[in-house]
Amino acid sequence: MSAAVDEHDHHADDHHDHGPEKGLLRWVITTNHKDIGTMYLLFALAMFFIGGTMAMVIRAELFEPGLQFVDPAFFNSMTTMHALVMVFGAVMPAFVGLANWQIPLMIGATDMALPRMNNMSFWMLVAGVLLLASTLFMEGGAPNGGWTLYPPLVLQPITVGKALPFAIFSVHLLGISSIMGAINIIATIFNMRAPAMKMMDMPLFVWTWLITAFLLIAVMPVFAGAVTMLLTDKFFHTSFFNAAGGGDPVLYEHIFWFFGHPEVYIMILPTFGVASTIIPVFARKPLFGYASMVWATASIAFLSFIVWAHHMFTVGMPIAGELYFMYATMIIAVPTGVKVFNWTATMWKGAMTFETPMLFSIAFVVLFTLGGFTGLMMSIAPSDFQYHDTYFIVAHFHYTLVPASVFILMAAGYFWLPKWTGHMYNEKIGQLHFWLSVISVNILFFPQHFLGLAGMPRRIPDYAVQFADWNMISSVGGFIFGASQLLFLYIVIDTIRGGTGEKVSDEVWEDAAKHGLEWTLPSPTPYHTWTTPPTIVPTEHVLDSH
C-alpha cells in the first residue's frame, strides 16, 4: 500500500529515498515503520475476523436454550480463545500498528528508534498467536478455563489437555513482543521528536501511547510471572496456587488482575488518543482541554495500578480491602469524566461534518460513556455482589471494547487510509458500515445488561428459559454485526486498490494540517518521510505557549 517512490540501486550511505525490497521478502525483513505498521494492522484485521468467528459460534449456541451445536467444553474453549485472540491478537496489535504508522509521522521522525527490534516484535507476535491457535487442534482442545486462566481449573487434567504449556509459552512470546514494542515507542517518542516539538506539543495519540507503553512494560512481566508459576505448579510440583501445598488460588487472581486491570487500559488509552485526534478535525476546532487530557490519561494510568481487586469483590476480602478498592475504583470516574466532557466541549460550537471517521468517533464517545456508567455501577461493591460474573459485566466490558476500542480502530482506518494509500474510500459504503455497526452492536450488547440483572451468569453454554428472549435478540444483533464487518474488509481492500479513484489532497480532510504534522506530507505517504525534521509543528491546542 505504501508506494515505492524510486527503485534505483544504491549504496549504504546513499541518502536518496530508498524503495522497499521487491517481492515477499520485503515483508519478512522490512524495518520500515510503515511496512511493519501495515503488517500489524492487516494481522490484527485477520485476527478480528477469527476472534469474531468464535464469537459467532458462541452467539449461535446461545441463540436458543438447550444444546444445539457445541459441547460445553468446546463452548468454554470458544469464550477463552475469543478473548485471548481479540485482546492479544486483534486490539493490542492494531494499536501497535497505528503507533508504528502514525507516531513517526506525527512527531516528525524518520522511523521508529529501533527498527530491527520492531521487525522482531511483529514476527514474535505472529509466532505467539500461531502457537495459541495451534492449541485448537490439540488433544483435549484449546484452553477452556477462561482467558483469566484461573487455577486450579486450568491445571486440572480433566479440564485442560495438552494445550496449557503451549498457551503459556504463547503468552510469553506475546508479552516479549509487547514489551519490545513498548520500549520502541518510548525510545521513539523521547529521542526522535522533531526538535521543534516539545512534550506538551505532542498530539494526544502520541501522549496516550507513551503512557500506554509504560503500562505495558510494567505489567506484561507480571502476567508472564503469573503464568510461569502456573507452569511450575503443573509440571514441577510447586504449590504457588495449590492450597494443599500451602499455596493460595486467590493469590493468582491478585497477580492476574494486577496485570489485568492496567491491561484493559492498555486497550482503551490509545483509543482516547485517536478520538482526541479525529474529533477536532471534523469539529474544525482545537481539542478542548489539551493539558487536562494529558493529565487525565496519566491519572487513569496511575489509578489502574491500584484498583485491581475490584475484579474480585466476591472472592472474600477483609472489609478494609473491599472499602479501599471500592473508593479507589470510584475515583477513576473523575478523570474519565473529564475526558468525556472535553470531547463534548470540543464539539460544542464547532462546525461539524459527519464523515465516517467522525461518525465512529461520536458513537465511541456515547457508547464508551455507557460502558463507563456500568463501570461506575460496578465500582459500588455491594451492588457488584449482584452484577459480578453475570451478563451485566459481559455487556459492560464489551461496551468499552467493541463500540469503543474497535469502533475507534475503524475510525482510524477511515481517517488515515486515504493518507497512507493516496486513495479515498467509498464514503457511502463507509456510512452504511457505520450505521449497520452502530445499530447492531447495541442490539447485540444492550440486552445483555438485562440478562445479567435478571440473573444469567456469564460463561454458560445453556441457560434457563426465562433468558431465552433477550439471548435471541442479542444473537440476531451479533450476526448482523459480524456480517457488517465484511463491509469494512471490502472497504479496506477497495481503498488499497484505488478506492473511488478520486485523488486525495495532502491534507485529505479540510484544514487537517492545522491539527497534525502527518497532513503536511504528500498522499500517499512516501516510503521514507521526515528525512529532514519539520521546523514548525501545529500548536493550536496549546494555550499561550507559543
Binding site: G66, Q156, R284, I319, E540
Partner: protein, 374 residues
C-alpha cells in the same frame, strides 16, 4: 442505502416478534427477599438514576451541538480550547457525587460483613458439579444436584428445554432454611473455585478450595429462590444450580426431623429386578458420572476415558468396584456411594452405554460391612 435500512428495520421487528409468544423481557435487578438485598437494590437504583441524569446532561449537550453546530447549517467554528472555570467545575461535581454515593455503599458493605450473632450455620461446599450442604448445628448433610429432567435435556441435541419446569434451575434436594433467622454460611470447595449466588439473597460469594469464606442472610419471606454457580468451574459450570427454600420455623423444624430420620435409614439391600437396577443405576450415573464420562459413556477425547468398551468397566466387577472406591488422580473416590448404589451403578455401566456384559449385581454382593453408615 434506504433498502438496506428497510431490511434492517425488518430484521429488528422480526427479532422482537419472535419473542412475544412467551414474553419474558425482564429488565431490572430483583429486589430480593432480605433487608440487605433491598439495600443493594436501592443502591443500584440510586447509581442508575445518577448515571441517567449525567447521561442526559452530557448527551444532551453533545446532541445539541451535533444538531446545531454543524457546517451544513453554516455554523462557524469557535476557536476556544480551554476554560479553567468549567474544567474545575466538572472535576469537583463528579467528586461530590461520588462521595455522596460512597456513604450508603459503605453502610451496606459493612452490613454484608456482619456475620456474627447468627442463629445457625450451614457449610456450603462447591464440587464439580454440584453443591454439598452441611448443617453445622445438626447432623444434616446432603448433596444437591441438578434435577434429572434438566440433566437429560441439556445433554441431548435438539431436546426441548421448555418441556422441563425450571430448566437448569432445579435440584434434587434443595437447601432449606427458616425465615427470619440469621443464617451464616461458610463456603469452601474441594476442587476448583466456584461461586454461590442466589440473586434474591442479594449476594454471591466465591467458594475457594482450601479456604473458607463467610456470608449471611436473613430471609423475610417464605418461598423458593433459585440461583447458579457464577465462577467458571469447568465443562458443567452451567449445570450446578442452587435452590433455597425458606420456610416458617414450624415447617422448618418438621423438615429437620424428617430429614434426620431419613438419614438414619439404612439402605435397602434387598434384591431388585434387572429393570429396577438399570433404572436406579441411571440415576446414580446421572448424578455422579455423567459430567465427565458423558451421557453415552463416550468420555472426552484426550481428557476423559470412555466407558463404552472400557476394560475396567466391563472386566471383573470386583476390580471395577475396587477401582471406584479407590479413585484415581483424575477421578474422586466414590466411597460415598452405598452398596445398593454400587450394585445399581455397576449393573447400569456394564449393560448400557454400549456395553453388554450381561451380568446383574445385587446390593448384597456389593455391600461392605460398614456400608449402612450413610
Amino acid at each position: 442505502m434506504n433498502k438496506a435500512k428497510q431490511l434492517f428495520a425488518g430484521l429488528i421487528l422480526l427479532a422482537l416478534g419472535l419473542g412475544t409468544a412467551h414474553a419474558d423481557y425482564t429488565l431490572n435487578l430483583m429486589k430480593g427477599v432480605t433487608k440487605v438485598s433491598n439495600d443493594i437494590y436501592d443502591l443500584h437504583m440510586l447509581i442508575l438514576w445518577i448515571c441517567v441524569l449525567i447521561g442526559i446532561v452530557v448527551f444532551g449537550a453533545m446532541f445539541y451541538s451535533i444538531i446545531y453546530h454543524r457546517k451544513s447549517k453554516g455554523h462557524v467554528a469557535a476557536q476556544f480550547h480551554e476554560n479553567t472555570t468549567v474544567e474545575i467545575i466538572w472535576t469537583i461535581i463528579p467528586t461530590l457525587i461520588l462521595v455522596a454515593m460512597a456513604i450508603p455503599a459503605t453502610k451496606t458493605l459493612l452490613e454484608l460483613h456482619e456475620v456474627e450473632k447468627s442463629d445457625m450455620t450451614i457449610q456450603v461446599t462447591g464440587r464439580q458439579w454440584y453443591w454439598e450442604y452441611k448443617y453445622l448445628d445438626s447432623d444434616i448433610h446432603f448433596e444437591s444436584h441438578l434435577d434429572e429432567a434438566s440433566e437429560r435435556v441439556h445433554r441431548t441435541v435438539g431436546a426441548d428445554p421448555r418441556s422441563v419446569p425450571n430448566y437448569l434451575l432445579n435440584v434434587d434436594k434443595p437447601l432449606v432454611i427458616p425465615v427470619n433467622k440469621k443464617v451464616r454460611f461458610v463456603l469452601t470447595s474441594t476442587d476448583v473455585i466456584h461461586s454461590w449466588w442466589v440473586p434474591d439473597l442479594g449476594w454471591k460469594k466465591d467458594a475457594n478450595p482450601g479456604f473458607i469464606n463467610e456470608a449471611w442472610t436473613n430471609v423475610e419471606k417464605p418461598g423458593t429462590y433459585r440461583g447458579q454457580c457464577t465462577e467458571l468451574c469447568g465443562r458443567d459450570h452451567g449445570f450446578m444450580p442452587i435452590v433455597v427454600i425458606a420456610m416458617e420455623q414450624v415447617d422448618y423444624d418438621a423438615w429437620v426431623a424428617r430429614t434426620l430420620e431419613q438419614q438414619k435409614q439404612k439402605p435397602d439391600l434387598s434384591d431388585q429386578t434387572r429393570q429396577q437396577l438399570m433404572a436406579h443405576g441411571e440415576s446414580v450415573y446421572l448424578k455422579n458420572c455423567v459430567g465427565c464420562h458423558q451421557i453415552d459413556g463416550s468420555g472426552v477425547p484426550g481428557l476423559i476415558p470412555a466407558l463404552t468398551g472400557s476394560a475396567i468397566a466391563t472386566g471383573k466387577w470386583e476390580s471395577l468396584d475396587g477401582f471406584l472406591r479407590a479413585g484415581t488422580s483424575k477421578m474422586p473416590k466414590f466411597e460415598k456411594l452405598n452398596g445398593k448404589e454400587f450394585a445399581e451403578l455397576m449393573t447400569y455401566v456394564r449393560n448400557n452405554l454400549g456395553n453388554k456384559v450381561g451380568d446383574e449385581l445385587q446390593p448384597k454382593q456389593t455391600a461392605l460391612p460398614d456400608d449402612d453408615d450413610e
